[in-house]
């Protein structure tokens, strides 16, 4: 009996390195950030001033608003495209389906600095398309500026689409052939099948995927940074410049914005989790 206890103790000791690393690089920094967000600018006096500043400054509210809008817009557009394309993919042979998933999987790795760079080559001020369209006399892109809101949206949509397809595709595969047969035996048309069975079945996946996409866009930093530097008012860019730039360091304010961003992300993840439980009962 004593030997068993000793063994258990020894096993617990083996868990120590993990606990140590997790505390030093996960929990302590998180805790420090939360604590810091409740301090005044001097870093000592406890106060709510940082949150007060955020919610009363049109500048930081603008950053939050821009981030939420760009995330919402890019997620909704991507999910609509993914709903159509993922369905189209399922209509082809196994081999083509695999190949399409391979392509989406591989392009999903194409993000951040390299992606921003590719778009600069295509649509930047000296971009291939920009020059080409100017040559052809098309005014389509005359108003377009990659280094602005519209450019950011375009790039965000690009990196969201592969992810959206990869997340939605398995849901389509969950719709059983028998359901459709049963529905058509009972006299349902194709449209009615989708209206009453297909779409309700897909809905949790769609909402769940949407929340993941939203979180993904809210937290995105590298792509935006490479495109617009610190010149565009986005939440993630603001946080970075408040805690790590050469000028105007305000770590406490940056922490408060960081807490707000983390809360938004966790809320989105929570929604996704709830939705996943609705379709995959084995998870709960």
């Amino acid at each position: 009996m004593r030997k068993l206890k000793k063994q258990k103790l020894f096993l617990l000791v083996l868990l120590l390195p993990f606990v140590l690393l997790v505390i030093s690089f996960e929990f302590w920094p998180l805790f420090a950030m939360i604590l810091n967000s409740f301090l005044a600018d001097d870093g000592k006096t406890p106060s709510m001033i940082q949150y007060f500043t955020v919610f009363h400054s049109s500048y930081y509210l603008q950053a939050v608003q821009n981030s939420v809008l760009i995330s919402l817009f890019s997620s909704v557009v991507s999910i609509i495209i993914a709903i159509i394309t993922a369905y189209s993919i399922t209509r082809f042979s196994r081999k083509i389906q695999d190949r399409m998933l391979m392509i989406t999987n591989m392009t999903s790795n194409f993000e951040g600095i390299p992606l921003a760079f590719s778009y600069i080559i295509l649509l930047g001020s000296n971009g291939l398309f920009t020059l080409l369209f100017a040559e052809l006399g098309l005014d389509l892109f005359a108003e377009f500026n990659l280094y602005s809101w519209s450019g950011l949206i375009l790039v965000y949509i690009y990196f969201q689409i592969p992810l959206a397809i990869m997340l939605l595709y398995p849901a389509y595969k969950g719709i059983q052939k028998q359901w459709m047969e049963a529905a058509s035996l009972l006299g349902a048309t194709n449209v009615r099948f989708w209206l009453h069975i297909g779409i309700p079945y897909l809905l949790p996946s769609i909402v769940g995927t949407l929340s993941i996409l939203f979180a993904n866009a809210m937290g995105a930093y590298a792509t935006a940074y490479a495109l617009v530097g610190n010149n565009y008012n986005l939440l993630s860019l603001q946080i970075a410049s408040l805690v790590a730039s050469d000028v105007a360091l305000k770590p406490q304010l940056g922490s408060a914005l960081g807490v707000l961003l983390a809360v938004t992300m966790l809320a989105a993840m929570w929604i996704n989790n709830r939705m996943m439980r609705r379709i995959r009962r084995d998870l709960s």
Binding site: W28, A32, Y221, A222, S255
Partner: protein, 288 residues
């Protein structure tokens, strides 16, 4: 029916073009000589690659990235593997906590993580601010969800608990059971999550830029520095970088396809695998 088929084909073709166009443009740009005001470059040259591969700074940056990645995944494997195993087999009551701890970084974006890390390590007892060791710690945390998922799923598939009690019944020590029975059986699962982590870290810019920046120039930072200087060289870097990522992803996908038969034999819970699923959808049947 015919209209449908044309529609779906068009959708796929447009999607593929849309997804591959930026990559194709970068590729062409990286081998283009003179190229303005024409649809395709007037001449083709490899001098940008030549320049890149003779740049000492490029190799340095690549080596630094490799160093960071290898140290991180080594530490991650050495620590995560026994931890998850011990909790899964001997301390099941901690399982929920471990899962929450390991999955939390998935919900916290690196930009938020950086805020706290800068705060804690810019001053204080541990002077690792601005050194690669701070990055290793941060990277350990951001790869943790992937390592956790991979290792845990593998342990579940092989039914680790029963395997270990069987081995112990036959006279093996706990360590022997772990080393000789469990580890060899989950090797491919560990390998997949390791590769996934490598691909993730290879593309990591946020933490590298904010925590260490120019003091330890990784491949992503090098690329960012080059962006504003030479477009052609930058595109050569992007393509080189992407080829490495493609190779990693390809190996991951190939490996993921394999353990499926193994899984169905054990009849355990199916992993959420995107590619290589065995289920036949009705849609494919209808298509015939």
């Amino acid at each position: 029916m015919k209209f449908n088929k044309i529609f779906h084909k068009t959708v796929l073709v447009v999607l593929v073009i849309y997804l591959l166009l930026p990559l194709a443009a970068t590729l062409i740009f990286s081998i283009a000589g003179k190229w303005d005001h024409t649809l395709l470059p007037e001449s083709i040259t490899f001098k940008w690659y030549g320049e890149l591969f003779s740049d000492e700074r490029f190799y340095q940056a690549l080596l630094r990235s490799l160093f960071l990645i290898l140290v991180t995944v080594a530490i991650s494997n050495i620590i995560m593997l026994p931890t998850i195993f011990i909790v899964a087999v001997y301390f099941r009551r901690f399982e929920r906590i471990l899962q929450a701890v390991a999955m939390l970084p998935y919900g916290i974006p690196p930009i938020v993580g950086a805020v706290g890390l800068i705060k804690v390590y810019s001053s204080g007892p541990l002077q690792i601010s601005g050194t690669p060791w701070l990055l290793v710690g941060a990277y350990f945390v951001i790869t943790m969800p992937y390592m956790y998922q991979g290792i845990r799923n593998s342990l579940q598939t092989i039914n680790a608990q029963e395997l270990v009690s069987a081995a112990e019944l036959l006279g093996a020590t706990k360590f022997q059971a772990f080393q000789k029975i469990v580890v060899p059986n989950i090797l491919s699962g560990i390998f997949v999550s390791t590769l996934l982590s490598i691909a993730l870290l290879f593309g990591e810019f946020v933490l590298a830029n904010l925590l260490v920046g120019g003091r330890f120039e990784t491949i992503q930072i090098y690329l960012y520095q080059k962006l504003n200087k030479s477009g052609h060289t930058a595109s050569a870097i992007v393509i080189t970088y992407y080829v490495i990522i493609l190779l990693l992803t390809w190996i991951i996908l190939e490996l993921k396809k394999r353990p499926m038969q193994f899984q169905s034999v054990f009849g355990k819970r199916k992993q959420l695998i995107l590619v290589g699923e065995k289920t036949e959808g009705f849609l494919k049947g209808e298509h015939k």
